[in-house]
């Protein structure tokens, strides 16, 4: 295909998304205020997720490094079909209270609702200012590997396949500079050569030697309060694209790929998806207080950046926003992946509707997502907790200035999570209160990941709260809706099948999704693809487009089971619902 990129087509609408017209799906609209159809409970304590995230001070934060928190990953590191949890930890400038310095943790799923800390056993003990995490089988050995970003050297953990990991960041040449601040990351096969490459973004050029104290200049003030400085006023960054050489090493191809053309931004959440449905992964990146970036794949190893042209860089009115978490999903069933980006307080979240061909319209207000604008929002995800076939939206919140509590302003440091239900007509309804304390209890949310942790057919959520214990929101169905959970395994494509596009057709219900690394806020969702099917008990068609370019169609698949599909079309039933 020509490398000139895709021309933006005339007639692209700036108007409100014509979702009802474009949709090929007939999904019944939900009544406002109707019961959720599921229960949400925070079971982190019962699950023995014994972890305390550390990220600088809890009552005051002198430097911006203490505000970004860390990510979390769902990963089935031992391939037993059960999601394990990897929580990234930060650090502090104060000496720790005990001998033990805070460390990342890996929790093995015991399959009974509890987890076991296997960090040491797995060789994953590491302390530092951990930021984000992404998962991918970079060496195609059948076991998911882990990449963890840091303020400092990044870390690549090779999964040895025996429950242990080996740190190979430097050897793989992805460790980066020891003074650099990496945040969001994602594995992707940008050149479709069957090997997972790695995209890493960076936040600010920060060093303790040069760091300014709170209140030093206007960039260090918030509503008259002296706070930590930045990101504005600090030196911005670029992103890094590593090409997988196939031999356990990577090459930095940032310049060659055109990634370095964009500089001076503050990268956070990274989202890889095929936005223009051309079979090649594109990269959307949230950037704090500078325009978000959209790298469109030119199919020749290079990218072109077109955020402003495609309408995903700014707010609806052209204003720069914060930009932390990102998620993609086809919320209106028109066959195009839409984007949600979370932002700072008074900015709200952004819902960018994909009008087709990766041109977007900000439909936040029109879709009813403009109600809550008070919070600083981070991790987010489209998911289908009630399995009705419509993607709902959840995001977590928490301010960056604990000092706010002192001035009794109308913005607090700890903030609730927000849940929006998709009404099926292009509109969303805020239902946080209906979900109860698991949503409404204020906390300091940062990274969050989505996945069916107990294999009951309902997607759950794990949250890495800053300077606090994590939350594990277990979703329990209270309805009769059906679902399907699909693990893809590439053969010619990368083993993780990252980048594979799945179209699920069940009667009039047509849904798409992709296997995706990264996303949310510097976190990693379950690599399995989950579809809610509503009342449908049978999937008429699963259409899979593999990163290699191959395609498989499977027909007449029963709902309510966990299946694996190997590239080439081989389907294996893994289990029924737990």
């Amino acid at each position: 295909m020509a490398g000139a990129g895709v021309l933006l087509q005339a007639g692209s609408h700036l108007g409100v998304a014509q979702s009802s017209a474009a949709s090929t799906t007939q999904t019944a609209s939900k009544a406002l205020g109707s019961p959720l159809g599921y229960l949400v409970q925070d079971v982190a304590r019962e699950a023995h997720l014994d972890f305390l995230q550390v990220c600088g001070g809890d009552t005051s934060k002198k430097y911006i490094l203490e505000t970004t928190g860390s990510g979390v990953a769902f990963i089935d590191y031992d391939n037993d079909g059960w999601l394990d949890i990897f929580l990234v930890n930060g650090s502090s400038f104060e000496p720790p209270a005990s001998q033990d310095r805070p460390t990342n943790k890996m929790f093995h799923n015991n399959r009974d609702g509890t987890f076991t800390d296997v960090t040491a056993k797995a060789g994953l003990t590491r302390s530092g200012w951990g930021q984000g995490v992404c998962i991918g089988d970079y060496d195609n050995d059948g076991f998911e590997d882990i990449f963890v970003t840091y303020w400092g050297e990044d870390v690549l953990y090779h999964n040895n396949g025996d429950g242990t990991f080996t740190e190979v960041g430097r050897a793989a040449k992805v460790a980066g500079e020891p003074t650099r601040w990496s945040t969001g990351c994602a594995f992707l096969d940008y050149d479709r050569d069957g090997k997972l490459d790695l995209f890493v973004t960076h936040y600010v050029n920060f060093s303790l030697q040069n760091a300014l104290d709170p209140g030093t200049n206007p960039y260090c003030m918030f509503r008259g309060l002296a706070v930590n400085c930045g990101p504005r006023g600090l030196i911005g960054e670029t992103s890094t694209l590593y090409h997988n050489n196939g031999d356990g090493t990577f090459t930095d191809v940032s310049a060659k790929a055109g990634i370095l053309k964009q500089s001076g931004f503050y990268g956070l959440g990274v989202l890889v998806a095929d936005f223009d449905n051309d079979g090649w992964p594109d990269i959307y990146m949230a950037s704090d207080t500078t325009p978000a970036l959209l790298f469109m794949n030119n199919h020749d190893g290079t990218f072109r950046e077109e955020d402003l042209l495609r309408g995903v860089g700014f707010s609806e009115n052209g204003m720069t926003q914060a930009g932390m978490g990102v998620t993609a999903g086809d919320y209106d069933h028109d066959g195009w992946l839409d984007i949600v980006k979370t932002n700072f307080s008074d900015e709200g979240v952004d819902l960018f509707h994909n009008d087709g061909d990766a041109t977007f319209t900000n439909v936040t207000g029109a879709a009813g997502l403009g109600k809550e604008t008070h919070y600083v929002c981070w991790g987010c995800g489209f998911f289908d907790p009630d399995n009705d076939g419509n993607l709902d939206l959840l995001y977590v919140s928490g301010h960056v200035y604990p000092e706010l509590e002192r001035i009794h302003s109308d913005t607090t440091y700890r903030e609730p999570r927000v849940l929006y239900r998709n009404l099926g007509n292009g509109q969303f309804e805020e239902v946080s209160q209906l979900a109860g304390a698991a949503l409404t209890t204020p906390s300091t949310g940062r990274g969050c990941a989505f996945g069916d942790v107990n294999n009951d057919g309902c997607v759950d959520v794990v949250i890495n709260n800053q300077n606090a214990r994590p939350a594990l929101l277990k979703v329990t169905s209270q309805n009769e809706n059906h679902w399907i959970n699909i693990k893809l395994a590439g053969t010619k494509s990368n083993r993780s099948a990252i980048g594979a596009r799945v179209k699920c057709v069940a009667g009039a219900l047509v849904q798409i999704d992709e296997v995706r690394s990264g996303g949310s806020y510097i976190s990693q969702n379950d690599l399995r693809v989950h579809f809610g099917l509503g009342s449908k008990t049978m999937i008429d068609l699963l259409d899979i487009r593999w990163p290699s370019g191959a395609a498989d169609q499977l027909h007449n698949i029963a709902a309510d089971q966990f299946i694996m599909v190997q590239e080439g079309g081989k389907l294996t039933t893994l289990r029924k619902a737990n």
């Binding site: 021309l7 933006l8 087509q9 005339a10 007639g11 692209s12 609408h13 700036l14 108007g15 409100v16 206007p218 960039y219 260090c220 003030m221 918030f222 509503r223 008259g224 504005r232 006023g233 402003l308 042209l309 309408g311 700014f314 009115n317 052209g318 204003m319 720069t320 008074d346 900015e347 709200g348 041109t359 207000g365 029109a366 403009g370 109600k371 809550e372 604008t373 008070h374 302003s409 109308d410």
Partner: protein, 590 residues
Amino acid sequence: MRRAQTKWWRGICLPTGSRALAGLLAASLTVPPTLGMVVQLEVATKPDPTATYIASGIRLLRNRDAAAAKVQFSAAVRANSRSADALTWRGIAENQLNQYREAVVDLEAALRIDSTSLPAHYNLALSLIRTGQSDSAIEQLKIVVKAQPGMLEPEYNLAILLEEAHATAEAIEHLQAAYKSSPDDVGVGQHLLVDLLTMGRKDEAQPILERMLTITSVEARQQVGAALIEAGDYAPATVLAESIRTQSGSSREADMLLARAYLGAREDYKAIDLLKPVEKDDSTGETAYLLGLAYTDSGATEDARVAFEIAAKKNPRNGRALYSLGMIESGNPDQLAAAISHLQGAIRLEPGNFAYGIELSKLLLQHDDAREALAVIQRVHAEGLEAGERDLLLGIAQIVVNGSAQAIPILERAALENPSLALSHNMLGFCFLAQGDMAKAAVFYGKASDLDPGSRIFAHGAAVAFDRSNDADQAMVYATRAAALPGANGEDHYLLGKLLAKTSQPKEAIHELNEAIALNPDLEEAYYLLARAYVQTGDNAQATEWIARLKDLKQTHERAIVAAKKNTRPITSSTLMQGAPTASAETGRQ
């Protein structure tokens, strides 16, 4: 328009300085055949105990011993319970003893016995007035004047009651009847003159005014002049006051009357010329106060301030002077503290004066002291339309101090009390917007704009609110209105452009957005939407060009943006007083 002070006397209403009680009693005792009350003081061939008691009571009344007189009249009633005279006289005594309810009972009983008794009707009218039954008192007096038309006192008193009931035309009829029989009665002439002028019957008023000019009593003429001034009839008041001064020479009272007439007639310079020479000699401060008013009307603000200051110094209890001084000072930011202090002083002196509290509250809100404004406005009592203004200011103060949720019921009340106050609806729109209820916000913003279609800020707010509640058609109506108003700015054209783009009219959108940028080259959002509109038309080259310009502009604005973001403050009352800000570019969160 205020009526001349009318002094209610014992007995029936009498003009100030006119008849005394003795006169009334004398009139009763002499038994004018017009009233129809006959009192036989001579004893008949056979002594009648009832009559004896009555006569005794009358003598005691004459000696001003109403209590003892009542005892006699009670004895008369006991002697003859069917004596209408006895009951009537006892009623008269009870009126003098302020026992009005008892008087009503007795006089009504008298009328049940003798419904033609004019004294009973007449005195019952007084009792009814005193017990707050003015309408019934009017009915009683009408009976009297019907039976005895043209009688001065009943006609006059009936006219006063009718004036109070705003039945001015009917009052004139009775005043004319009284004037016919007593053309020299100053009270009648004064009321008739004022009423005729009120009804616009200048031709009929003229001869009465001319007659007033011939009245020898300066005091009486001054009284009439004062009544005309208070009624707002400044032209005839001026004529009268000038004649007084011409004929009787300058005196403080004459000068003050004339000055007030000049002020009312907007002849400020005449008032100044009159008052200036005599101000120093007036220790009451009243001259200085009037001088201040004259200077204010003529635009000599500083002179006015000095004059009011003098007035307040000479009479620290002059609430009006303090109020006027405060209002002058409020126009000068350097004198804000003094203005507030003086207005507070005026309120302390006249706590019931609604206007003082309202103006102080406005001043405090305009200078972002919402907490103090809240304290002041909560003490203001008002009714009707004025209550609407009070509650509007209260609502604005509440928004700033306690948040929009608490302000909503107050503003809803304000809108009910005075539906024509556009700002109340605008504020409600702002509150609902802050609450996230876009649909309600749009309704109220729209109403504000419909009430005041010339307000750009109201129209703009309505457009933004309807846009956010996904009603593009309505949003377009108000955006078009805002953009067409004088003073429409870049924001207005930007908003219209945005809506045109949203409704798939990119060419029209481009025109409006270009207009927006021409008016405000710093409007980043217009650049952005212009680029998006060009994308919509397929002109990627132009889109790219505008994006490049946008990036350059953002760099230029970098520091200002950051400073604004970092120092974001909650909404201020001074901003709200201008109308709710709903900048289409920002959430406009409170």
